[in-house]
C-alpha cells in the first residue's frame, strides 16, 4: 500500500508541471503576431502585399488589341467578356482579381489592431511608426486600385451616392461587407495616406518597401483621380522632392527583350501582379497601331517599349516590373502629374519644364528639342498625350479615361471581335466593372448598376 501512495504522489507531483510541458509551440515556424518584427514580416511578404493588383482596368482600356483568333483562344469566357465590356460574368467565381485585391487590407487591419498592444518607446519608435505607416499605405493602395476598377470615376456631384469599395477596416471577417459611397472610399484613402506620410521613412529602403515618397505619390494619384489637381500637384511635388531621379533611356540596352531592370531608379514602390491575366500577355496583346505611330523616330521608347511581332504589329516589353502591367509608383508619373497640375493652373512654363525634364531622358541623346506651347490648353494637350505614351500598361489608362471623360474629353472606346463591334461611350455605367457575382451572392452587397 505504501508503494501505492508513492505512485500517487508521483503522479500528483508530475501533473502540475504539465502546463509548461504544454506551452511549447507545435511548430517552430508559428507565431502569434505580437512583436514589431512579426508585423514587419507580414508586411514583407511582397508577393501578397506588392504583387496582387487588379489588371482588369488595363484590359478594359485602349492601349492594346487582340486578334480574333487570340481572343477566341482565351481559356475563360470571363476573359473574353472583359475584353468586350460585357455587362456581367467578368470574373470566375472564387479566384479572381477582386479576391486577390483584399488580403493586404486584412494584413493592414491585423497590423493596426496589434500595434496598440505594443508600447511605443524611444527605442522602437522609428520601427513602430514605419510599421504603422506601411500598413496604412498598403490599405490605401489596394482600395484605390479597386476603386479605379469597380467604382465610377470620382465626381463631387455624385460621389456621396455612387457605390464605392468595401472598407474592411477590422480583422473580423464575420462582419458583412457593405458598399460605402465613392466619397467615403476616397476619404478613407486620403485619411490613411495622410496619416502614413509622417510615419514612413523619407525615401525607399527598397522598392518593395513603401516610403514617404510613395505615400505622396499615391496621394498625388488619388487626388488626380478625384480631379483635385492642385493637391495632386502638391503631392507630386512633395514626392519628387524626396525622390527626383529619372532613368536615362539612353543607358538601356535597346537590343534586349526586356530593357528595364526591376527596381530601377524611377521606381518609388514596385507593384505588379504575378497572376497577370492571359489577355495582357505580350504575345497576344498587340499595341494599338495609332498609339505606336505616335512615337517619334528619335523617341527611344519606340524601341525600348516595343518589339515587332513580325506581322506588322508590336508587343509591349517596357514594364518596370517583372511582368506587365507595372502597377507601381514611379517618378515619371509624378513629373507628368505635376506638369498636368501646373498646366491646369495656367503655369505653362513650369508645366513644360517638367515635361521636358522627363522627355529629355526618353529621347536619343542629342536629338531632343524641348516642347513648347502657346497656352495652357496646348500644354495640357501635350502633357496628356505624353502621359498616355509614357504610362501605357501601368494600370492608369482606365482611370485616366474615366476622369478625362468627366473633364469632357469624350473618349469612346471601341473594339471589334469577329465582325462584331463593341462600344463603350463616355459615362457608361460599365466604367464601373461588375463585382464577381459570387461575392454579391455571399455578401448581399448591391451590384454596380448596369
Amino acid at each position: 500500500m505504501k508503494r501505492l501512495y508513492l505512485l500517487l504522489s508521483f503522479l500528483l507531483l508530475v501533473l502540475p508541471g504539465c502546463d509548461s510541458f504544454l506551452d511549447d509551440k507545435p511548430d517552430q515556424k508559428l507565431a502569434v503576431p505580437a512583436t514589431l518584427a512579426d508585423l514587419q514580416a507580414l508586411l514583407n511578404e511582397h508577393d501578397r502585399m506588392n504583387h496582387e493588383v487588379p489588371n482588369v482596368g488595363e484590359i478594359s482600356a485602349d492601349n492594346f488589341y487582340l486578334t480574333d483568333a487570340d481572343w477566341a483562344a482565351l481559356p475563360n469566357e470571363q476573359e473574353r467578356n472583359q475584353y468586350v465590356w460585357a455587362p456581367e460574368n467578368l470574373f470566375p467565381p472564387q479566384d479572381n482579381e477582386w479576391r486577390r485585391n483584399f488580403p493586404p487590407v486584412y494584413v493592414a487591419a491585423t497590423v493596426l489592431e496589434t500595434l496598440p498592444a505594443i508600447p511605443r518607446t524611444p527605442a522602437n519608435a522609428q520601427v513602430w511608426d514605419e510599421v504603422k505607416g506601411q500598413a496604412l499605405y498598403y490599405r490605401a493602395h489596394q482600395l484605390l486600385q479597386a476603386a479605379f476598377v469597380w467604382a465610377l470615376a470620382y465626381d463631387t456631384e455624385t460621389a456621396s451616392t455612387d457605390l464605392g469599395i468595401p472598407l474592411r477596416l477590422t480583422t473580423n471577417f464575420n462582419e458583412r461587407s457593405t458598399r460605402p459611397s465613392v466619397q467615403d472610399t476616397y476619404d478613407r484613402i486620403l485619411l490613411d495616406l495622410e496619416e502614413a506620410v509622417p510615419l514612413l521613412p523619407p525615401t525607399r529602403l527598397h522598392a518593395l518597401r513603401p516610403s514617404r515618397a510613395a505615400a505622396h505619390a499615391l496621394l498625388a494619384r488619388t487626388c488626380l483621380a478625384m480631379r483635385k489637381y492642385a493637391e495632386a500637384g502638391q503631392h507630386a511635388d512633395a514626392g519628387l522632392q524626396l525622390q527626383p531621379a529619372l532613368l536615362d533611356y539612353n543607358t538601356l540596352d535597346t537590343a534586349a527583350n526586356y530593357p528595364f531592370q526591376r527596381f530601377n531608379p524611377e521606381v518609388i514602390t514596385e507593384h505588379f501582379s504575378w497572376g497577370v491575366s492571359l489577355t495582357l500577355r505580350e504575345n497576344i496583346a498587340r499595341v494599338t497601331p495609332a498609339l505606336y505611330a505616335s512615337y517619334e523616330k528619335n523617341d527611344l521608347r519606340r524601341s525600348v517599349f516595343f518589339r515587332p511581332n513580325g506581322d506588322g504589329s508590336y508587343a509591349f516589353q517596357g514594364s518596370y516590373g517583372n511582368d506587365s502591367p507595372f502597377g507601381g509608383l514611379a517618378t515619371d508619373e509624378l513629373y507628368l502629374t505635376r506638369a498636368e497640375a501646373t498646366a491646369r493652373a495656367g503655369r505653362v512654363q513650369e508645366a513644360l519644364q517638367d515635361l521636358n525634364t522627363l522627355l529629355a531622358t526618353r529621347w536619343r541623346r542629342g536629338t531632343f528639342v524641348p516642347f513648347t506651347a502657346q497656352n495652357a490648353q496646348e500644354a495640357l494637350a501635350l502633357i496628356l498625350q505624353e502621359r498616355r505614351k509614357q504610362l501605357l500598361q501601368r494600370n492608369l489608362r482606365w482611370m485616366d479615361i474615366k476622369r478625362l471623360n468627366k473633364e469632357g474629353a469624350g473618349i469612346t472606346l471601341q473594339r471589334t471581335v469577329q465582325g462584331r463591334t463593341y462600344t463603350l461611350p463616355p459615362h457608361d455605367k460599365r466604367f464601373a466593372l461588375p463585382l464577381p457575382e459570387d461575392v454579391i451572392a455571399l455578401s448581399g452587397m448591391p451590384q454596380n448598376p448596369r
Binding site: 510541458f21 509551440k25 511548430d27 486584412y106 506581322d311 455578401s443
Partner: protein
Amino acid sequence: MNRILLLLSFLCLPSLAWAQQPVRGRVVDAADKRPLPGASVAVKNTKTGTLTDAEGYFELPVLSPNPVLLVSFLGYTPQEISLQLPLTAPLVISLRQNETRLREVEVSTGYQQLPPERATGSFARVSEERLNEQVSTGVLSRLEAVANGLTVDRGTDARGRLTVRGLSTIQGPRDPLIVVDNFPYEGDLNNLNPNDVESVTVLKDAAAASIWGARAGNGVIVITTKKGRFNQPLRVAFNTNTTITGKPDLSHIPQMTSADFIDMERMLYERGFYNSQISSTNRTALTPVVELLVQRADGTRSEQEVEAELQALRGLDVRDDFDRYLYGTGVNQQYSLSLSGGSASNSWLLSSGYDRNRDHLDAGYSRLNLRFQNTLRLLKRLEITTGMYYTQSHSSSGKPGYGEVTMLNGNLYPYARFADGAGNPLPVVKDYRQPWREAVGNGRLLDWDYYPLEDYRHSRGSSDLQDVLANAGLHYTLPGGLSADLRYQYERQQTDSEQLADAQSFAARSLVNLYTRLDPATGNPVYAVPVGGILDLGHSTLEAHSARGQLNLDRAFGQHAVTAIAGAELRSTAATGSGTRYYGYDAGNLTFGQVDHNTPHQLLTNGRTALIVPGNTLQSTLSRFVSLYGNAAYTFRERYTLSASARRDASNLFGVLANDRWKPLWSTGLAWNLSEEKFYRVDLLPLLRLRTSYGFSGNVDQRRTAVTTLSYRPNVSPFTGSPMAIFSNYANPELRWETSRMFNLGLDFSFRGERVTGSLAYYRKKGTDLFGRELVDYTSGIGNSITKNVAGMAGSGVDLELDTRNIETPRFTWRTHLNLSHSRDKILEYYLSDLRGSSFVSSSPLVSGIVGKPVFSVLSYRWAGLDPATGDPQGYLDGAPGKDYAALLGTDVQLEDLRFHGSAIPTFFGSLGNTVTLGHLSLTARLTYKLGYYFRRSSVNYNLLYRNGTMHADFADRWQQPGDEALTDVPSMNYPAVANRDTFYAGAEVLVERADHVRLQYVTASYDFTKDTFRGLPFQSLQAYLNASNLGLLWAANKRGLDPDVQLNRFPLPVARSYAIGLRASF
C-alpha cells in the same frame, strides 16, 4: 414403454445412495496449471451445474456413482470426464487452451486485456489466422477485407481512407488511431511486419474506444504483436512467400484515339488557337503535330510530307509503348523467422523479417525487421517486460508510369513514341519548342532532348528509413487484487531521402540551359546554374516519448467482481526536418557548384530574369499530450456488468487558452449475460449476451487554432533580405473541440455446438460543434472559406458479424464468415451562406452541408438533353430547357433545383468469406462489397482538352450532327470552349452512376503437412499456400464496367491482380 420406466428406476436406485456426497474438484489450465475461475462444470444429462470459484474450485452434488462431468471454459476445449465415485485422488481437471477460440474472444484495448463476458463495448477482432489469409507487405491493407465495421473510403479520397463505422467528423481528421500493443504508433505504419502481428482489434464504440480520449473519435485499431509464453519449449516459426503482380490493363485509361486528337489539333490550328504560342518568346513546347502544321505553313516541309507523317501518327497509341517498354511484372518476396520460448520465470520472442519488393514499374522497397520481446518474473510479484523493435527500409524510384511522362507538366499527346522499331529510345516533346531549341545554341548548349526510356535512370529518388522502438514495463502485483504498471516507450524514426537528377538527366540539363547566357561576342555559354546534377537531400527525424503509470484492480468478493484501471500518461512527439539542394553536383568526386540565389538571372527563352530557387528548408514540429484516465467495471453474479470510463486530455495546441486544453471525455456501459440467468432455458442458443454503451468523445485538429497565427517563410526575401511571414490561421475565438456522442447496443450469441456465432450491434452517433467549411465573402481578405464549429451530424448503423460452421465432418468442413455493415450519416445542422446549386456540385465529392442529407452527397444538375441543333448540353432554367451556362451555374439554379442521388460513401459494406477444408487442404474465397452509394464519372472537357490536352475517350461519342442527341449525351465540340458549359456537363445528372459493386478480393488455398500423415517430417507443422488477390469486379451496378473504387484517381486503373505462393513452417 414399461421397459423404459423399469430401466429408469433401476438406474435411479444406486444414485440415491450418493445423494449426500458432493464432488469437489479444481479446474486448471493444462499448460501452466493456473486455476480457471468461472469455468462451468455440469453433470451430463442433468440440470446440475456450477461455476468454479476464484481459485478454480467447484463443488457439485452428484446423484450417480459414475457421473460424466462436462467442463467448459471460454477459450478452452470443453472436456467430458467420466468419474468413478468415490474419488481416490483430488480431482484436478486440466483444460487445454483452444488457441483459435481464445483469440476470438479476448480483446485488448491497449490499456488492458478485457475478458469478453465483462466487456460492455463493441470490438471487432481479427485473428492471426484470418489475417494470414492474405499476403501483403503491410498490415492495415489486410483489414478492409476481413474486419467488421471497417471500410476504406475511396469515394471521397483517391488514396483510400480507413474508416471505422462511417464518418464521425466532417472536416476534422478522419483517420482512426492506430495503436501498437500499448501506445499509438507514431512512425510509418509500413514499418510493421504482418508476421509479427498476433491479432488486430477494432474498437468501435464509445465504451471500447473512449479510453483513448481525444483521438478516439474516429475509432481505434489496436495491433497486438506476438509475445513469448511462460513454460513453453523453444518454438521456431518460419514463413516465406513470393507475390507476382501483373501489369495493369492500360486500356482502362479513357484516352482519346490519336486520330481524334490529331483532328482536334488541326481544327485548333486552323482556328488560330496556337498563334500566340507560335509567336511567343516563351518558346513553350508545341506537340509534333502542331510543329508539322507550322512547318507546312512556313514551307519548310511539303504538303505531302506532312500529310504522310500525320497519317503515320494517327495509328499510334502511347499506351502500347507504356505497356511494352515501361510496365512489367512486380515481384514481392517476404521472409520471416521467429523463435520463442519461456521458462517459469521468463518468456521471450525473437523475430526477424525481410521483405523485398519490386513493383510493376521497377520501383523498389525493402524492409528489414528485428524484434525482441522479453518478460521476466523477477520476484514473485514483479514482472519486467522489455521490448525492442527495429525497422530499416529502403525505397527507390522506378520507371515513369502513365501520366508521369508529361509535356509542360501536363498531359502527353497520345501519339508519342518512346522507341523506334529497333527499340532505340526516342525523345518526346517536353518543355520548349523543338525548332527553337535546335537553333538557339548553335550547338553550344547541352543536349535538350527528353528520352522517357533513358531519363528515369538519371533522375532517381530513394529514401532510407530507420525506426527504433524500445519499451520497458514494470508490473507489480500488490495485495488485494491490486497491481501497478509503469510503462515507457521511446521511438525514433529517421528518414533520409535523396533525389538526384544527375548531369545526364533532362531536369538538370534543361535548367542549366534555361539559365545559360550566350556571350554575344564569342557565343560561348555562360552558366548561372553550374553544369552537373541537382541533388536534393532530405533528412527528417521523429522522436516520440510515451510514459504511463497505471493502477489496476481486479478483485472478486462473493458475487461481486471489480476490474478497474486508473492512470496518467504523457506523450511527446517531436519531428524535425531539413532539406538541402546542391546544384552542379558530381557524384563521382562529390563536388558541387555555387549559385547566386539573390540576383535575378536572364532566361535563355525570353530574356526575362528569374531567381534560381535555393531549395533549402528547415522544419520543427512538436505535439504533446497529457492525459488522465480511468476505467472501472463492476460485475455482479457474473451476469451484470456496469462499466464507466473517463478521460481528460490536454495538448499543446497553439493559441488555445490553457483552461480550454483539458477536455473531459467519458463513457459508460452495461452488459447482461442473459444466458447465465437461471430462467434462461434456450438450449439452441447457449450464449446470449446483451451490451449497451453510451459515451462522449472528442476530435481535435492540431492545425486549427483560436488566434491569428502566422508562419514564417523558410527563406528570407531574396530582394530585401528580410524575413517574411504569411498567415497560417485566422483568428477564430469561437473554435472549440469537436465532440461526438455514441450509443451502442450489441448482442453476442452462439448457437448450440457453435454452429453459428456472432454479434450484432446497432449504433447511433451524433457529432456536435463539428468543424465545417464556411464559405466567406472573400472581400474579407482571408480567402474563400474558413473552418468553424458550424456543423452537426448524426450517424447510425448496424454491424453484423457471423461465423457459421455449415458442414463439419472429420474430413470435410465448410465455414462461412460474414461481415455486414450498414452505416448512414446525415447533416443535422450546417451553416450555409450560399444556396447556389453550383456550390453543391463538384467533380470531387464535397461536404454538401445540406440538413437531412448525407455529409458527402452526390448532387447534379438536371439534364434536358443535347440541343438538337448544336449539340450543346442543356439544363433547366425556370422549368424550360436552357443553355445560359452562367445562369445555370449562377443564382438561377438553387439547391432545390438539383437532383439528389445519394451518399458518396458506401452505406452498406462488408465481406463474405467461405472456407472449405478437405483433409489437409483448405480453400478460402472472400468477396467484398460496397453498396448504396454514387459516383460521378468523368467525361470530356473541351476547355481542358484544348488548354492542357486532358483527354477523355467519350470524345469519340460526341454529338456531331443533328440526330446524334438521341444516341449520345456527350456534347458537341465547340470552339472557343466555354468553361461553364464544360462545368455544367461535368456536373449533370447523366454522369452520375450507382457505385454499388461486389469484388472477389482474394482466394487462398493451403495444404497442411502434419506428422500424422507425413512421418519423418522434420517440422511440427508445414503449410504450403497459394493466394490470388484483387481478382476484380464480380458485379457492378454501372453498365460501363467502371470500377468505382478507382474513379477518383487521375487515371482509373484498377488494381492489378496478384498471385502469391508461400510456405509456413514451425518446429
